[in-house]
């Protein structure tokens, strides 16, 4: 886990190192000063830019461990402060989306599995195909037009309240809902054809009881693994959704960091995203292993 974060930080650092653009010059630009060549040279020396790559990376890592991620010149503040400001907004958006995701994909997936090959199943499968095929950025704009402009049901400028969070949340969730509805359906169908269900049915146990007392808990762990894997997609999706809904979170932040070549901020973003993603998958791995020792034997967890 630590190795992975380490590797990721190394990769981004290396990329930034080879990228065009001189951090010393950028610092001056941020202060709206045109530096002389000597001033630049002095700044490079002070910032340690003349050291070999490995030394620079080492220093950067040490600072990172001290909680110092550098200085963002577009926001004129330490990167950590800016991240602290933006992280709650993105977490809120992602949580709301996750909530929608859990609510809808479960309901639809279970319904679809129970009613296999009936009309409802086909309708849900059709919808989930639409869900995974529709571009989120397009969907978001259409939702804004329908629900904000036409029927004034939701708002687009109040990230704080309920009316403002529904649309971005649902936009972020829909592609994933499409995906997980199918996978939940498949997981439940697999359970439904297993021996113990056949046996239970033979014993005349009520179908609803079979589903809720046996099938669902048994498919749960594979589903939780799926959700853990979806965190990455969810976090990636926030960039587009935040952009459409002018959501003041990490996604909007990273776009302005990119446009303005604010590498310190970009790097802070990458490190944070990597850590949160890895922490979540790690936690899920551990809890699943704790729940079911068999998983450990399976080894590879390919999709």
């Amino acid at each position: 886990m630590v190795i992975v974060i380490f590797g990721a930080s190394f990769l981004t650092f290396a990329l930034i190192y080879i990228s065009p653009g001189d951090p010393a010059e950028m610092m001056f630009r941020a202060q709206e000063i045109v530096p002389s060549e000597e001033a630049l040279e002095r700044a490079r020396e002070e910032m340690g830019l003349n050291n070999p790559f490995i030394v620079q990376y080492g220093n950067w890592l040490i600072n990172l461990l001290k909680g110092d991620m550098g200085y963002s010149y577009i926001n004129t503040g330490p990167v950590t402060d800016i991240l602290r400001q933006k992280i709650p907004m993105t977490i809120k958006l992602a949580s709301v989306a996750l909530l929608f995701l859990v609510m809808f994909s479960f309901t639809l997936g279970i319904l679809s599995a129970i009613k296999k090959s009936k009309f409802l199943d086909y309708a849900i499968r059709g919808l989930s195909l639409v869900g995974i095929s529709i571009p989120a950025f397009w969907l978001g704009l259409i939702l804004i037009y329908l629900f904000v402009v036409k029927i004034n049901l939701f708002t687009i400028t109040n990230p704080g309240d309920f009316k403002g969070v529904v649309l971005p949340g649902i936009t972020l969730a829909i592609p994933l809902i499409g995906r997980y509805t199918r996978q939940i359906r498949a997981a439940i169908l697999e359970q439904l054809s297993s021996d113990y269900v056949v046996g239970a049915r033979a014993r005349g146990i009520n179908e609803r009881r079979i589903i809720f007392a046996h099938v669902l808990p048994n498919s749960l762990k594979s589903i939780i693994t799926l959700f853990a894997l979806s965190i990455g997609v969810l976090l990636g999706g926030t960039v587009i959704v935040e952009n459409i809904f002018s959501w003041p979170g990490l996604g909007s932040m990273v776009m302005s960091a990119i446009v303005n070549r604010d590498y310190a901020l970009l790097q802070g973003y990458v490190i944070f995203m990597a850590s949160i993603y890895i922490t979540i998958s790690f936690t899920v791995d551990i809890s699943i292993q704790a729940l079911d020792p068999r998983v450990r034997l399976k080894g590879d967890k390919s999709q």
Partner: protein, 521 residues
């Protein structure tokens, strides 16, 4: 057992999620206040703004505009919606000799914190601005300021015909200097306006409340919540969905959604902003007059103005409503043939037959830069120019930056699309001195023209208004002829409000949005 545990983990997970999102909601509602119930007594105005600065310290950069826009700060004298002077904190003023002007400060004005405003307070505020402002363009040659009771006497070290005009700029908003060093002043400056800042959150919004002791009148609106909405179409949608009652600077197309509707009032008309292209004079080919003339001839700005913006094509920096505007013929009307022959004559020719001309064997690909703050319009001009320049054999690439001054300092551009308030002081000298004079602070293309510099020197010494106007016209013509700056069009300003909001005026200067006259019916 394990199944139960799994289910339990899952349920807890869900609950935590719900709890988190709810907790955030309730917090936000309290801070924001906009969601609290509209009771009969409290009148709340929700406004959208397109720009906010990091803080509201009026002496820094253009931050004072934010204070001016929402009725927080006031000057001795201000420009009203029609660009005429109106007495505010000073009830009258008089120029007693070439170098001396006397202001009479109105009795009974108090700062937001209750401290009285007298000549001394004004003197200290102006001196503070002179001392700490980073706006080189707003510096005044002041020799001494004398304060006696309500009489303020300002002496300049040289003739300053535009003293009053400058003092009307938001940089010279009168603040209570006795508390200016306290922490938080830059977010809640203590001024004299009809509204005071309760909470200023950069990049998010401003909460303002009525100044109960406002000197001029009882203010009707109790609370103004200003939200920053950068995206033009989002501002329009926020108006439509009822999230805001007031928005400015809407997209021209979007204005059509509000015009002729009973629920909205649309104020629109030309403002002082002019859109222009700054050429980077540090590039050797830009030093070539023929090349610049070809660039000017190569674009059909009249059609852009009419079709893209419904604006008027520009001939120099000042729009025709101003007395110092150049009203003669346009030197460089759209003429691609002329542009081509100019380029041929100057030796910019296409030798490898790919349709793009070369300099020293390399294709000419001009770098067009603009700020994302200027929205779609600026990029659209670029797209239009791109296809027209292709026809005269010049390539172009468009990039939108967030921060134009950074890119202009880096010098990695050929053309910057910029827009500027051409006469915030109601005088021609300002923009010449700020953006076009040799070495001036916002001269992004490093433009230098001795003829224009001479005009600036003459403006320095000219008091007579008619003479100054004449110099303004002359300067505008010089600039246009030299084609170092290509003036594109004069922009339009717009203010849209819900129809129950009254007392809103569209200021030609664009400096003010809401003042004490605002009412909610």
């Amino acid at each position: 057992m394990k199944k139960l545990l799994t289910a339990l983990v899952f349920i807890v997970f869900c609950i935590v999620l719900v709890a988190c999102s709810q907790e955030n909601q309730s917090q936000q509602t309290n801070v924001d206040g906009s969601q609290s119930n509209h009771s009969e007594e409290i009148k709340i105005l929700n406004a959208a703004t397109f720009w906010m600065s990091d803080n509201v310290e009026p002496t820094t950069s253009w931050n004072g505009w934010v204070a001016a826009r929402f009725g927080v700060g006031e000057n001795l004298v201000q420009l009203d919606e029609n660009m005429d002077f109106k007495p505010v904190i000073a009830e009258s003023w008089e120029q007693v000799d070439e170098l001396t002007t006397v202001f009479t400060i109105r009795e009974g004005i108090r700062f937001h914190n209750g401290n009285p405003v007298d000549a001394r307070a004004c003197k200290e505020s102006i001196e503070r601005a002179l001392r700490i402002t980073n706006r080189e363009d707003m510096k005044l040659p002041i020799e001494s300021i004398k304060a006696e009771g309500q009489i303020l006497t300002i002496k300049t070290s040289k003739i300053t015909p535009t003293l009053v005009n400058f003092l009307a700029d938001p940089v010279y908003i009168i603040v209570d200097t006795s508390v200016a060093d306290e922490e938080g002043f830059s977010l809640k400056p203590i001024c004299t306006g009809p509204f005071k800042i309760v909470n200023y959150e950069p990049n998010v919004g401003i909460n303002l409340e009525r100044n109960k002791d406002y000197w001029k009148c009882e203010v009707d609106v109790d609370i103004i919540n200003v939200k920053l909405i950068r995206d033009t179409s989002a501002r329009a949608m926020a108006l439509q969905s009822g999230e805001v009652d007031f928005a400015t600077a809407l997209n021209r197309r979007d204005l059509e959604l509000f015009e002729g509707k009973d629920e909205f009032i649309v104020h629109r008309g030309p403002n002082l902003r002019v859109a222009f292209l700054t050429l980077n004079m540090n590039k050797p080919y830009m030093q070539n007059l023929g090349f610049r003339q070809a660039l000017a001839h190569g674009i059909d700005k009249e059609t852009y103005a009419r079709e893209i913006y419904k604006a008027t094509k520009a001939k120099g920096p000042f729009n025709e409503s101003l007395s110092f505007a150049y009203k003669g013929e346009d030197y460089y009307s759209y003429d691609p043939d002329k542009a081509r022959s100019l380029l041929d004559r100057e030796g910019f020719v296409d030798t490898d037959g790919d349709g793009i001309r070369e300099i020293n064997g390399e294709n000419i690909i001009l770098q067009y830069a603009t700020s994302s703050r200027f929205g779609k319009d600026a990029a659209n001009t670029g797209v239009a120019m791109q296809s027209q320049y292709k026809e005269i054999g010049i390539g172009m690439e468009i990039t939108q930056y967030e921060n134009l001054s950074a890119i202009s300092k880096s010098g990695e551009f050929d053309i910057i699309w910029d827009r500027w308030s051409s006469a915030p002081t109601a005088d021609p000298q300002y923009i010449f001195e700020t953006a076009f004079k040799t070495g001036s602070p916002s001269n992004r293309g490093n433009y230098s023209n001795p003829e224009l510099d001479a005009i600036c020197d003459r403006l320095d010494k000219t008091i007579n208004k008619e003479e100054r106007d004449k110099l303004g016209i002359e300067g505008a013509e010089i600039l246009m002829k030299d084609a170092g700056i290509i003036f594109l069009f004069y922009l339009e300003g717009s203010v849209v409000t819900k129809s129950n909001i009254e007392g809103i005026y569209r200021f030609v200067s664009d400096i003010y949005h809401i003042d004490e006259r605002v009412e909610i019916k």
